[in-house]
């Protein structure tokens, strides 16, 4: 069966629609604020060999990181309605709060049925494995000593929560796992939402299979993968051949850790080699290779064509090299929670910088405040790096995250917290022909005794600009006005105020080249503001 250009487009759309529908079910039926409000979830379809055919990624940190999860269960004994669960970063996961659920898709045997698969693949009396539906969601808590399972100071995986090796997800497993975590009702509901999303994926894919036939579906999977590969190659071949280098720093407790990149474009291929980067460390900034890959894929997507379907085919022309045992390809049981949320941003920064881009705030500014009863987790936006043709927007998530904030009114209803200020941090974007975006100020007051944990970056080193553009201002963390280190945890007494000031983005080009104020620039951060700042009616009160 061959797939013509029309069929290709129609089936690409159909597969994407299935992923989107799985995502809609997951996001809307989950209970964790992380999943619902912040859309920290993604869904994907895989072919029976474990190649990712299509993904609906709602935030980039999951981009291309799920194939490792399906690979981890590929050789298991599969049967209809038998879903698998895992979160072990060294066996298919990323960091522990990201729980992945994988559901095999079986098509019933029909008269005239013949196997589509090689001899090594499992077959079953009641149907044939035609695909896997997978989804990943960030749970608000997965146990461990720290509420929110995002400790600032973890040193091994065990410090970060319950490690789930690949296992069958049934009611018994749901009960057992949720009982080891905080807010077990919510965990149970989130896991059920993940199962429901998987069931929707199975139902829709079987419908598509019945409509177009097994041969066409199999050919479509292959063609969609090839199609994404062709489009990526077309983009890469437009880049000049050659070697580009960049380096940047992470702010570990014990000192700075270096990330080094050599990026090589040869025809329509790209190699990203991180050899020479720091060794894995005794904190939690380590990454499993899957996280390093997804950060690279994010940057490549920014540099090429974002409309290329996010399938494994798109990543075939990209080779990511990170020696085992280094920070970007850590060995078990190194702690990884900061790797997923912070190191991933820096990896993306380094790739973008190698290609001459200014970078954004480069951190998610992870804030966890809670007690044994409640856990409030959120990430705070900041300044985007300027683009070669536009100012960077202000007060947004810049890289691997793109999650919604928690409305102040919702937060104050749910948690013993009061927001004191939530505003743009004016003048913090780097100057240039195009300016970096401004950071954000978010200040909270505790109304009860609480523990806090901050996992932040770009406090010591500013986000760089490019092509003569100035860096953005580094961020600051303050407790009652006293500056705190980038990674810190501690107690909050009622009345104490925790203030997070997030970094601005780097500028692009020299300020001399700046023309009239950029009319395209998102408002709320127009540059005239800096001159106006002192007499702005809304500041200083």
């Amino acid at each position: 069966v061959s797939i013509d250009p029309v069929e290709l487009q129609v089936l690409t759309g159909a597969l994407r629609a299935i992923c989107e529908e799985m995502g809609a079910v997951l996001i809307r039926s989950a209970h964790s604020a992380n999943i619902k409000e912040r859309r920290d979830a993604s869904t994907a379809l895989f072919d029976p060999r474990g190649e990712m055919v299509m993904q609906a990624e709602h935030i980039p940190v999951h981009l291309g990181a799920m194939p490792a999860a399906v690979a981890a269960v590929l050789d298991e004994q599969h049967a209809p309605d038998r879903s698998w669960i895992l979160n072990d970063p060294y066996r298919g996961g990323t960091h522990l709060p990201d729980i992945t659920v994988i559901t095999p898709v079986f098509a019933p045997r029909k008269p005239g049925w013949r196997s589509r698969l090689g001899a090594n693949t499992a077959r079953f009396a009641d149907g044939e494995l035609i695909a896997f539906a997978a989804n990943r969601a960030h749970h608000a808590d997965v146990g461990g000593p720290t509420p929110g399972s995002t400790p600032a100071d973890s040193r091994t995986l065990a410090d970060e929560g319950v490690v789930i090796s690949p296992r069958v997800l049934d009611e018994e497993a749901i009960a057992e796992l949720s009982s080891q975590m905080r807010q077990p009702d919510q965990r149970r509901a989130d896991l059920r939402a993940q199962l429901a999303a998987g069931r929707v994926g199975v139902r829709r894919l079987v419908e598509l299979h019945d409509r177009v036939g097994a041969d066409t579906l199999e050919a479509a999977f292959a063609e969609v993968l090839d199609y994404a590969e062709r489009r990526t190659r077309a983009c890469l071949s437009e880049l000049d051949d050659g070697v580009r280098r960049a380096r940047d720093l992470l702010e570990a407790r014990e000192g700075d850790l270096q990330i080094v990149l050599e990026a090589t474009v040869t025809d329509d291929r790209l190699t990203l080699d991180f050899t020479g980067s720091a060794e894995q460390h005794d904190g939690n900034l380590n990454c499993p290779l899957a996280v390093t890959r997804s950060a690279c894929y994010f940057a490549v997507r920014v540099l090429t064509d974002p409309e290329i379907p996010p399938s494994a085919g798109a990543y075939r022309p990209i080779e990511v090299i990170a020696p085992e045992g280094c920070l970007l390809n850590a060995r078990s049981p190194a702690a990884v929670v900061g790797g997923n949320v912070e190191t991933s941003s820096r990896i993306a920064d380094v790739v973008l910088r190698a290609f001459g881009r200014a970078v954004g705030q480069g951190t998610m500014n992870n804030v966890v405040i809670g007690s044994e009863e409640v856990v409030y987790y959120e990430t705070v936006g900041g300044g985007q790096g300027a683009c070669p043709d536009a100012d960077g927007p202000s007060g947004i998530h810049v890289a691997m995250s793109n999650t919604l904030n928690t409305p102040i009114e919702a937060l104050e209803l749910e948690f013993p917290l009061r927001m004191i200020e939530y505003s743009l941090r004016r003048g913090t974007g780097g100057g240039g022909a195009h300016r970096g975006g401004d950071g954000v100020v978010r200040e909270l007051e505790a109304l009860a005794p609480l523990r806090y944990s901050l996992l932040t970056e770009r406090r010591r080193h500013a986000p760089p600009g490019a092509d003569g553009g100035e860096p953005g201002a580094p961020g600051r963390n303050l407790l009652d006005g006293e500056e705190l280190p980038p990674k810190v945890s501690g107690e909050l007494a009622p009345g104490q105020r925790l203030r997070v000031e997030t970094p601005g983005g780097g500028g692009f080009g020299t300020s001399r080249q700046r023309e009239s104020p950029n009319r395209e620039s998102p408002p709320g951060d127009s540059r005239q503001r800096i001159a106006r700042q002192r007499d702005s009616p809304s500041s200083g009160r």
Partner: protein, 665 residues
């Protein structure tokens, strides 16, 4: 005699209903002052009907003044007063970026610039005031706003934290500012919106403040013109599908931002009811876009909030979903070799290649022409004559590029365009737990009926409804729409505080306010309860009486949750987030049987490509009368749209002139 007028991008349509007759007329829209086109259309309709203006008893208007102003970024010079520390509430939004990978893609500018944002010296908490504003502080604030911008402020939005539940400070500030600036429009967030989540409430209140002075000016001109013409003041269509009096509309522009699409959806629902298909998926395909909505039991599905021009609108509205696929959508081949359609559109100018106005890229309309579904001898609505050679040139060039025969390429363009529209229909159905097979497909708009059978087959739909009055459906919807006022409030009740008496007391108060606002003490009241499991961030809307028992709400919520998401959880705490009460004075149903649109039908045959092969197809041109039988393959060239009946479909024209098709195999 009832009058409905809908202002569209190109034409302004008028419908007059009297006795059992319906008379329609059109006039070109007048973008500079829409009221001119409105009155021209009214005169044209009166003339066709041979009736006098003074006989018009009620006049309902659907408009795009507020929508267009928002899309073009026009608005009054507006100031924002927000709780101290939170004046950037709209600029910050929800901190997500507009596009995951286009890092500098921006969101639309807040309607209030930085220098016009003012901090209010107050703070509310969920449990009441933490800090009340002093009299002196209020006066000082009002004076600063009055002097802002050289005294040029035209409108003010007031948005304070937790005002959805404690509006006292908003009222105090509103009063203080009104004393200092008696002629300036003021929008208070608890009045305009009334629900919690500060960003969405603030952004909606800004829209209300920035557009209301503009809308008021337009409506004043319209009232003057209507008065001179001898017709009554119009009621205005709101985004929620109900009409309100002109003064209320002028005071709250946010309520009518989606007036035009709501009128279209209301008209579609009316036709669906009249055709005996009260459950219908409605699909309105024009030149540049396609609007879809769901009609359930004769009413258009609503949603409690939506978006317009990338701005949130936290107000109830008819759920109309728009995709950028229309007749003018351009087909192209991407770098990976897939055939794509849209999102670029040839629009009206130059338009599709076959319009012969210089367009060289192939569009959906060009493909329809090459396949024989559109005739070169039948000018489209607006008098455009079609140039087949130009369409051939455009499609052949693309066919070479993708390596398909020209005919297969044209069929491919249609298939890909249909797939886009099917995705849109899936968004409004399957993802909301609705099974499309239970519904009829109501196809309208210039291009909708051309694609109806293919889309119905893909969705498993067995009935197609194609109204004769495709072009004036929105004006018709205005004639029959109810008058309605919504009052909503976030209450966030759960556990012990979620009691029957508490709910009843709130609905009684909201009901009184809604009736009073509507000016009809005897108006029907209905209530919607937005519920969630405590901790969820989305609510599901449940309709119930005004004095519901919490258990009944729970049961209704759980069955909806089960239907939508596949599970419910008896162990979770139920939370009643928002109560919305609507006061409704029902509209009148008019009969379409006396429509004057019936015309002589001419019959011919034409060769068209169906399923890859050339087939002789019967062509009916005109508005076929009641009882006319139609069997596929056939093409019906209605005055304002073309219906393609593929093999396997047949049906007839009903008493109202609507064509009903059934799938026969």
């Amino acid at each position: 005699m009832l009058l409905g007028v809908d202002v569209g991008g190109t034409f302004t349509d008028a419908v007059l209903a009297f006795g059992d007759r319906v008379v329609t007329a059109k006039a070109p829209s007048t973008p500079l002052d829409q009221s001119e086109g409105v009155i021209a259309a009214v005169h044209a309709a009166l003339e066709r009907a041979g009736r006098a203006a003074r006989e018009v008893r009620a006049f309902a208007l659907g408009m795009t003044v507020a929508t267009n102003a928002l899309l073009e970024g026009r608005g009054a010079r507006t100031a924002l007063i927000a709780t101290e520390g939170f004046t950037d509430v709209v600029a910050l939004g929800r901190q997500n970026r507009a596009h995951l990978y286009r890092l500098c893609a921006g969101r639309p500018a807040p309607l209030v610039p930085d220098e016009l944002r003012y901090a209010a010296p107050e703070r509310m908490t969920p449990d009441g005031p933490l800090r009340a504003p002093g009299e002196d502080e209020l006066r000082a604030l009002a004076a600063r706003v009055a002097h802002a911008d050289g005294g040029g402020i035209e409108s003010i939005a007031v948005v304070l934290l937790h005002s959805y539940r404690h509006p006292e400070h908003e009222r105090a500030i509103g009063d203080a500012v009104a004393r200092a600036l008696p002629d300036v429009h003021i929008s208070l967030s608890h009045e305009v919106v009334g629900t919690f989540r500060e960003y969405e409430r603030a952004a909606t209140t800004e829209v209300d403040a920035a557009l209301s002075p503009l809308l008021a000016g337009y409506l004043r001109r319209l009232v003057d013109r209507a008065g001179s013409a001898g017709v009554p003041k119009p009621s205005i269509m709101q985004s929620n599908g109900g009409l309100i009096d002109l003064e209320s509309a002028a005071g709250h522009a946010a309520w009518t931002v989606l007036s035009g699409p709501a009128a279209g959806a209301a008209g579609a629902a009316f036709v669906a009811r009249a055709a005996g298909a009260p459950d219908a998926l409605c699909f309105d395909m024009g030149g540049t876009s396609c609007d879809v909505c769901v009609v359930d039991d004769g009413s258009v599905q609503e949603r409690s909030a939506g978006e317009i021009a990338d701005r949130p609108l936290a107000l109830p509205m008819l759920a109309v979903h728009t995709v950028g696929a229309g007749g003018g959508s351009i087909a192209w081949c991407d770098a990976g070799g897939a055939l794509r359609v849209g999102p670029r559109s040839a629009g009206a100018d130059p338009g599709p290649a076959c319009y012969g106005r210089g367009g060289e890229e192939p569009t959906v309309t060009d493909a329809n022409l090459l396949l024989g579904y559109l005739g070169t001898d039948a000018p489209l609505a607006g008098g455009v004559e079609l140039d087949r050679l130009a369409a051939e040139r455009a499609v052949h060039a693309l066919a070479r590029e993708v390596g398909l025969e020209p005919t297969a390429c044209a069929e491919g363009i249609i298939r890909v365009a249909n797939a886009e529209m099917i995705r849109a229909l899936r968004v409004v159905t399957v993802e909301r737990g609705i099974d499309p097979r239970r519904y009829a497909l109501l196809a309208f708009g210039g291009a909708g009926p051309l694609h109806a059978t293919a889309i119905a087959e893909e969705l498993g739909i067995a009935t197609i409804v194609c109204p004769r009055a495709s072009g004036v459906l929105a004006a018709l919807g205005l004639v029959v729409s109810p008058r309605r006022r919504d009052v909503q409030r976030s209450v966030l009740l759960s556990g012990g505080s979620l009691g029957a008496e508490t709910i009843a007391a709130i609905t009684a108060e909201l009901g009184d306010r809604a009736r009073q606002a509507l000016g009809d003490g005897g108006a029907e009241l209905s209530a919607v309860y937005e519920l969630r499991y405590r901790g969820q961030a989305f609510e599901l809307a449940v309709k119930a009486g005004l004095e519901p028992q919490p258990d009944a709400l729970r049961a209704a919520f759980e069955s909806l949750h089960e239907e939508r998401y596949g599970y419910s959880d008896a162990e979770q705490t139920l939370e009643l987030v928002t109560i919305r009460v609507s006061a409704i004075t029902p509209g009148v149903e008019v009969s379409l049987a006396g429509s004057d649109e019936e015309t002589e039908v001419s019959r011919s045959t034409r060769t068209a490509v169906i399923g890859g092969s050339e087939t002789g197809v019967a062509v009916l041109r005109g508005s076929p009368g009641a009882g006319t039988e139609i069997e596929g393959p056939a093409i019906v060239e209605l005055p304002e749209s073309t219906l393609l009946v593929t093999p396997g479909w047949s049906g007839s024209v009903d008493a109202t002139g609507t064509i009903l098709l059934e799938r026969v195999r």
